[in-house]
């Protein structure tokens, strides 16, 4: 696709900034959204994706302002419904490269139903879920990913709901590409975005994103140098699960139970080898979801948890339609209007 695109763009190579619009970016200074925008623009430049063949569709939220900043086609729709718009669009034009941009409230609160149905139908979309564990745009209420006990504008003495585990939910909804990245690690994000763009099906990328106004530092244990080493587990296909500031710790499976081992005592060969095609392993990995401050907490995995090849809806739709035309012939309008039973009045 990249090559063809360059030709379409009449040979002129596009830089990241060519994917930016002339609109002022209106996120709060310091918001994690900026870095995600930048990475997406870079990846677009890297792949030389065609601006006129690309559509960004979002719901409502700070994150959902994203399409205004991409010099492509874009639709800022209504709260939670971006997947539904994308499904119709892909169904009638599968040549378009469609990206869905959504927040944790947008996708998992009001939009939860469309989210899970999109995953099971496996439309070919790249979905970036900006998870900041808060409602940013409405000025700081807790979200379905906020930890229990969260103090926010709407929960001044602490929230009561058990939060979703977005990746476990996605796996339960039969998602075919499930990944996690973070705003503060551009390199990692780049790698994940490239893979997401390759996947033919719904590529779900959860991105931990700092809302420095209403939920500052929610992910700092995972994103800041001081703590990251011991709390983050980068998972890579075919590689053993190793982490730690000095890459000195690993994960082994004791039956179904993942345990942290010291690499001084255990050889890397005995560690859990990441296999992104193994759904059971992926489901255990998604459950590495401990509060990092608890004693013996498992590290939080980042990377691609699970990939599966499965027909996507729009391809099946088009195949069925073509088969139907093959079988019955391209519908004749007059025949349709005439129907099967006529009579004549003379």
């Amino acid at each position: 696709m990249a090559e063809e695109t360059i030709i379409k763009n009449s040979g002129a190579k596009l830089a990241a900034k060519d994917y930016a619009t002339d609109q002022d970016v209106r996120w709060c200074p310091g918001c994690g959204d900026y870095s995600i925008l930048k990475q997406v623009q870079s990846v677009f430049a890297e792949l030389q994706l065609d601006r006129d063949e690309t559509v960004f569709i979002s719901g409502i939220g700070c994150s959902s302002r994203f399409p205004y900043y991409m010099n492509t086609y874009g639709m800022h729709s209504i709260h939670g419904r971006a997947p539904a718009f994308a499904s119709g669009l892909r169904s009638i034009n599968p040549d378009l490269n469609v990206w869905v941009i959504t927040g944790d409230g947008d996708s998992l609160s009001i939009g939860g139903n469309h989210f899970i149905h999109m995953l099971r139908r496996n439309f070919n979309l790249n979905v970036l879920l900006f998870n900041n564990q808060i409602y940013g745009l409405t000025k700081g209420q807790y979200s379905p990913t906020s930890e229990k006990g969260k103090v926010t504008k709407s929960t001044p003495i602490g929230s009561l709901d058990h939060p979703f585990n977005p990746l476990a939910l996605s796996l339960g909804a039969d998602g075919t590409f499930i990944a996690r990245s973070m705003d503060r690690d551009p390199k990692h994000m780049r790698a994940i975005l490239l893979r997401a763009e390759q996947h033919h099906g719904t590529s779900l990328v959860e991105i931990y994103q700092n809302c420095n106004i209403f939920n500052d530092g929610a992910f700092f244990t995972f994103t800041e140098k001081e703590t990251k080493g011991d709390t983050v587990l980068f998972i890579e296909q075919g590689k053993p699960l190793i982490f730690g500031a000095n890459s000195d710790k690993g994960i082994k499976l004791d039956g179904f139970k993942p345990v942290i081992v010291d690499l001084k005592d255990t050889s890397a060969n005995d560690l859990w080898i990441h296999d992104e095609n193994d759904r059971v392993k992926a489901s255990i990995l998604t459950r590495f979801f401990d509060d990092p401050s608890t004693e013996g907490a498992l590290p939080r995995p980042f990377g691609i948890f699970y990939v599966e090849k499965r027909d996507n809806y729009e391809d099946a739709l088009i195949t069925q339609l073509n088969k139907s035309i093959e079988a019955k012939g391209h519908g004749d309008l007059d025949a349709l209007l005439r129907g099967n039973n006529t009579w004549e009045i003379k």
């Binding site: 379409k8 619009t21 609109q23 601006r51 006129d52 063949e53 690309t54 559509v55 569709i57 409502i60 399409p67 205004y68 991409m70 010099n71 492509t72 086609y73 874009g74 639709m75 800022h76 729709s77 209504i78 419904r81 997947p83 539904a84 718009f85 994308a86 499904s87 119709g88 669009l89 892909r90 169904s91 009638i92 034009n93 040549d95 378009l96 139903n113 469309h114 149905h117 739709l317 069925q320 339609l321 139907s324 035309i325 079988a327 019955k328 012939g329 391209h330 519908g331 309008l333 007059d334 349709l336 209007l337 005439r338 129907g339 039973n341 006529t342 009579w343 004549e344 009045i345 003379k346």
Partner: protein, 618 residues
């Protein structure tokens, strides 16, 4: 025995029985035969809400009313001449729908103790003993027994045998009304293709019913209804309202050179449009059964955004759910057809019954100032024209449009003169052309003489742009919070809808003339019955006229002037008075509402009574 033949202009038959009795099929067959013989017809199926309510109960009664004649017909008839009842419950429910002195044909087995009990009637009940039936012509026919006897040696089980008893009734009625059997025989052959035993037995029973008519002494007279003389010459077919709407959508997309994308979620009585469309994939139709009504409309908008004809459909509760998204459609200004096949409300209401009570919802049921054009169909065949027109306006004026139908015309059927695709009006989508870098910047919210904006579809070179539900700057479409711009855009969106009035026909009188004393102003599915009532009153010499509105928003430009030509305006509606609110607001005339809120269409006699009252009032 050769029967005497009596000629009649018009006959109304009501078939009624248990939902399992094949009533709809029997009615449908009689309809097809009548149509093919050149009668004018109109039908009204009336189902129970349950899929299969317990057999024999009042809740399980299914009805199919058919009006056919040698004269022009606009309604399924008020009360029927002949009431066919397969069981006691069917009589209990429908006796009130039979004309005084009418004929009852009753299946004896349907009045056995078990059935009487199920119908919650006295177990000792007999038709002969029923005082209320005095003055009616009651004919008991032991359909069950006769059918069983006919198929005694067929080798079929009792269940299968009993299932064909509707064919006996049909055959009998064919005899009564002097109709040929061949159309139904052809139908049976098609339906049971590959199952020769079922073909044979069904035809046997059909013929047995016919012969029973011939032989049985009870009916010395056959009734003949000649082909309708006034019907335009040509080739005809029968069409159900929902089917007609589906055909219109396919045709409009075809004529506009667009893909048709139909995003919907099943709901009675709209689902049959989905069912029809999904059988026509080879016409390039993409149907999408979404997870809910919101996803349905949003998927259709996604398709429209991509350059297809996006259509979504539902009934009242589902339309309520779409309100927020319709607001976005207004703001985005994209073509979109929203079909509302109305049913009885509020809430779940009367799902299988008809009502016109969503007019105000479709007119106003969204936040903010969000005007949407509305077109209402007036009959089963008009579902084609009105839906086609809705598509035309949506595409050419680049706007969401409501197409309003209701359970009555959606399920009803009429003969329809076969159209050629060439005869359909052209539809021209207004796609924005690709641009080169040196061209002036693309303005997604610039407007043409219709005040509509260009349809700029993703994939077109040089048109990359962003749209959304926040207020947009005039011309550029960028987000704008500017106060004056908001006022301007609000007025532009309204003006664009108002402007459609320049592209639709003026309001005409359907009957009568300016200066008549009373104008009856109707809309939607009440057309046929209002037409009939006015026609009859005019024939009686009354000064009454009739106008029927299909363009509900914007209204035809001349409507106000037209209304001012009459002393009184009477507005019958199957709701608690909705269109009348709009008319009174717009034109400040004391239009008189007349309402029926029973989940049922008006009867001609009800209307005539009301009209007479208004005519006679000072």
């Amino acid at each position: 025995m050769t029967a005497v033949k009596e000629i009649k202009d018009v006959v109304t038959i009501l078939f009624a029985g248990d939902s399992g009795d094949g009533i709809q099929l029997t009615g449908g067959q009689f309809t097809d035969t009548a149509a093919l013989l050149g009668n004018d017809i109109s039908t009204f199926p009336n189902f129970p809400a349950e899929i299969r309510a317990p057999i024999g109960t009042v809740a399980g009664v299914s009805g199919f009313q058919l009006n056919f004649g040698s004269i022009e017909i606009f309604t399924p008839g008020d009360q029927c001449d002949v009431l066919v009842v397969m069981n006691a419950a069917a009589l209990k429910v429908n006796l009130k729908n039979l004309k005084k002195g009418g004929v009852i044909i009753a299946n004896s087995t349907g009045f056995d103790k078990r059935n009487l009990r199920l119908a919650k009637m006295d177990e000792e009940y007999t038709l002969q003993g029923d005082k209320r039936l005095e003055g009616y012509k009651v004919h008991e026919v032991d359909v069950t027994k006769l059918t069983r006897e006919t198929l005694e040696n067929s080798g079929l089980g009792t269940k299968a045998v009993d299932r064909s008893k509707n064919m006996f009734v049909l055959g009998f009625l064919y005899w009564m009304y002097d109709r040929p059997l061949d159309i139904t025989i052809k139908f049976i052959e098609g339906k049971f293709k590959g199952k020769q035993d079922l073909i044979d037995t069904n035809i046997m029973v059909l013929k047995a019913g016919f012969h029973y008519g011939e032989t049985c002494e009870a009916f010395p007279t056959q009734i003949v209804v000649k082909p309708a003389a006034d019907i335009e010459k040509g080739v005809y077919r029968n069409v159900i309202g929902n089917e007609a709407a589906a055909l219109a959508l396919i045709s409009a997309a075809r004529k506009a050179g667009l893909q048709l994308f139909y995003g919907t979620y099943p709901i009675t009585p709209a689902s049959d449009i989905l069912h029809t469309l999904s059988r026509h994939k080879n016409y390039g139709v993409k149907t999408y059964q979404a997870e809910d009504e919101i996803a349905a409309i949003c998927s259709a908008m996604g398709a429209s955004y991509g350059g297809a004809l996006g259509v979504t459909a539902s009934s009242g509760p589902g339309i309520a759910l779409k309100g927020e998204a319709i607001g976005l459609a207004v703001s985005l200004e994209l073509p979109l057809v929203i079909v509302n096949v109305q049913r009885g409300g509020p809430s779940t209401g009367l799902p299988t019954k008809t009502e016109q009570s969503d007019l105000l919802q479709v007119m106003y049921g969204r936040n903010g100032e969000a005007p949407v054009p509305i077109i209402a169909a007036q009959s089963p065949t008009d579902c084609f024209d009105a839906a086609y027109e809705a598509c035309r306006i949506a595409i050419e004026h680049v706007t969401p449009v409501f197409f309003l139908s209701d359970g009555y015309i959606a399920n009803g059927s009429e003969p329809w003169k076969v159209l050629k695709g060439d005869a359909l009006p052209k539809i021209t989508p207004k796609f924005a052309a690709a641009r080169k870098e040196e061209d002036a910047p693309f303005l997604p919210y610039s407007r043409d003489e219709k005040l509509s904006r260009p349809w700029a579809i993703p994939g077109t070179k040089g048109l990359a742009h962003r749209i959304g539900g926040i207020e947009k700057e005039n011309l550029t479409g960028n987000i704008s919070y500017d106060p004056d711009n908001h006022e301007l855009m609000t007025k532009l969106r309204q003006a664009k809808v108002d402007k459609i009035a320049d592209y639709i026909p003026e309001q005409k009188l359907d009957n009568g003339k300016e200066g008549d004393k009373v104008l009856v102003l109707s809309w939607g599915s009440t057309y046929g019955v209002v037409k009939t009532a006015v026609k009859e009153l005019r024939e009686e010499g009354q000064s009454i006229a009739h106008a029927h509105v299909r363009y509900m928003n914007p209204l035809p430009k001349n409507l106000g002037t037209l209304l001012s030509k009459f002393d009184k305006v009477l507005m019958p509606e199957m709701n608690n008075g909705q269109f009348v609110k709009i008319i009174r607001d717009k034109f400040l005339i004391p239009a008189i509402p007349y309402n029926k809120i029973q989940g049922l269409p008006f009867f001609t006699h009800e209307l005539k009574e009301k009209m007479t009252e208004v005519l006679n009032a000072k």
